[in-house]
């Protein structure tokens, strides 16, 4: 870990990115992909992998050219001050709405899976108070926490996926024909959508020390994310079949409920609930840090800590008024969030890169 001027290493930033990906991945990818690509959904990560590798190269170019500069500075440098500020404002609004959405989604998930009848206000409040303490400590502490959680999360993920193997029915993944190509492409949208979170890491690029090869680490991360997507889809669809999975609110959790150790120990899905809470915690903390960092960088404020509390109180109220049910959250996720994520997290950085190339700034 880098101790240089309160900065984190490339590896730590990628660990944070992988954890960010995990929380929505296990909730959303099997549901969305199986509804679009049916039994061929498990091929979607392969298609997504190709697109993600292309993006990882663009990301590496940015990182190499604008070493230790925030994405805010990169946007202003390439697009100019006026257009740059408009794009940054759009990104900030997107991150704020997305943060509130994720807080609400975390609460809904906890209420559905572990704590029915618990007040939404209480769960939101407790989470955001914890987040405000962590974000105040800065990105280094967050990254260290991410490293620690990463080990626990990897263990949980591997153990649960090994335990579910006896329940898998490989015939649920077939047949596959050339007619599934369209579905496979559509099924890769959630992976691309969640990959859009890389922009958050780019926003605090100035807090990353470049001691190792960025391209190599980014490519490895893309590979890990594709493998996670592949495992999550295969496990869910081969256990229940795509028809049932596409109608379940939390398919991966329901799949893990099928684990049975020698027909003696059953219903051990609490580990997955813990997995969700840890990943959601890191996700909400990174979103908050990025959002506050954007304000600081764009207004050139060197001390942003006084804004954290009021910003999180705003997020609290926003999360509470966003939706009344999980159906509304799911509809928002499918109809609005997925295309917006792909546009802002995947397409817009590529467009900025092309403009930078044309203006000979990259």
């Amino acid at each position: 870990m880098s101790e240089n001027n309160n900065k984190i290493s490339i590896k730590q930033s990628m660990i944070l990115f992988i954890i960010l990906f995990c929380a929505p991945a296990i909730r959303y990818i099997p549901l969305y992909s199986s509804a679009r690509a049916h039994q061929a959904a498990w091929l979607s990560p392969f298609f997504a992998f190709v697109l993600l590798i292309i993006y990882a190269l663009v990301w590496s170019k940015f990182a190499e050219k604008f070493k230790e500069q925030s994405f805010v500075d990169i946007i202003k440098n390439i697009l100019g001050n006026v257009a740059g500020n408009i794009v940054i404002l759009i990104y900030w609004i997107w991150i704020t709405i997305f943060l509130a959405y994720n807080v609400r989604m975390y609460v809904v998930r906890i209420v559905v899976s572990a704590m029915p009848n618990v007040s939404v206000l209480l769960l939101c409040g407790v989470m955001l108070i914890m987040i405000s303490f962590i974000v105040r400590k800065g990105i280094v502490n967050l990254a260290r926490m991410g490293e620690l959680f990463f080990l626990i999360l990897t263990l949980i993920f591997i153990i649960y996926n090994v335990l579910i193997i006896p329940e898998l029915d490989i015939y649920n993944l077939y047949p596959i024909t050339y007619k599934d190509v369209g579905g496979i492409i559509k099924g890769s949208f959630p992976i691309l959508s969640i990959f859009g979170y890389n922009v958050l890491i780019l926003f605090f690029n100035d807090k990353i020390t470049y001691t190792s090869d960025f391209k190599k680490v980014a490519t490895k991360s893309v590979l890990i994310l594709s493998i996670i997507s592949l495992i999550v889809i295969i496990v869910s669809i081969s256990t229940f079949g795509w028809k049932i999975i596409s109608t379940m609110p939390v398919p991966y959790l329901n799949t893990m409920m099928q684990i049975s150790l020698f027909d003696v120990v059953e219903r051990i899905e609490s580990g997955i609930v813990m997995f969700w809470i840890l990943t959601d915690f890191i996700l909400i903390a990174v979103f908050t840090y990025s959002s506050i960092h954007i304000i600081g960088k764009s207004l050139k404020i060197n001390e942003t800590r006084p804004l954290i509390s009021i910003y999180l109180i705003f997020i609290f109220f926003l999360a509470v008024i966003l939706a009344n049910s999980s159906i509304e959250l799911q509809t928002f996720s499918e109809n609005i969030l997925t295309p917006t994520n792909i546009a802002l997290g995947y397409c817009l950085p590529i467009i900025i890169f092309i403009i930078g190339k044309l203006r000979k700034k990259v």
Partner: protein
């Protein structure tokens, strides 16, 4: 609900005190941070009032879907 508004007032007074007393920040920084703080505070109070008036009413997403004609 009143508890939350009291909480917001306490946090605001405390943070404003911290900003004013902070020696590491120059005048420009303090000005910008105050402006940003009060913009976020206005957003917070607006969303708080919206929540207070719509406790069992329609959510933001419901209104958005209605506007965009999205059925669910």
């Amino acid at each position: 609900m009143i508890f939350f508004f009291v909480f917001v007032i306490i946090i605001t007074v405390y943070e404003n005190y911290c900003i004013v007393k902070n020696c590491t920040m120059d005048k420009r920084n303090k000005k910008y941070i105050f402006i940003t703080y009060y913009i976020i505070l206005i957003l917070t109070v607006s969303s708080g009032i919206y929540y207070y008036l719509n406790v069992n009413g329609s959510s933001l997403f419901y209104n958005l879907f209605k506007f965009l004609n999205i059925h669910y």
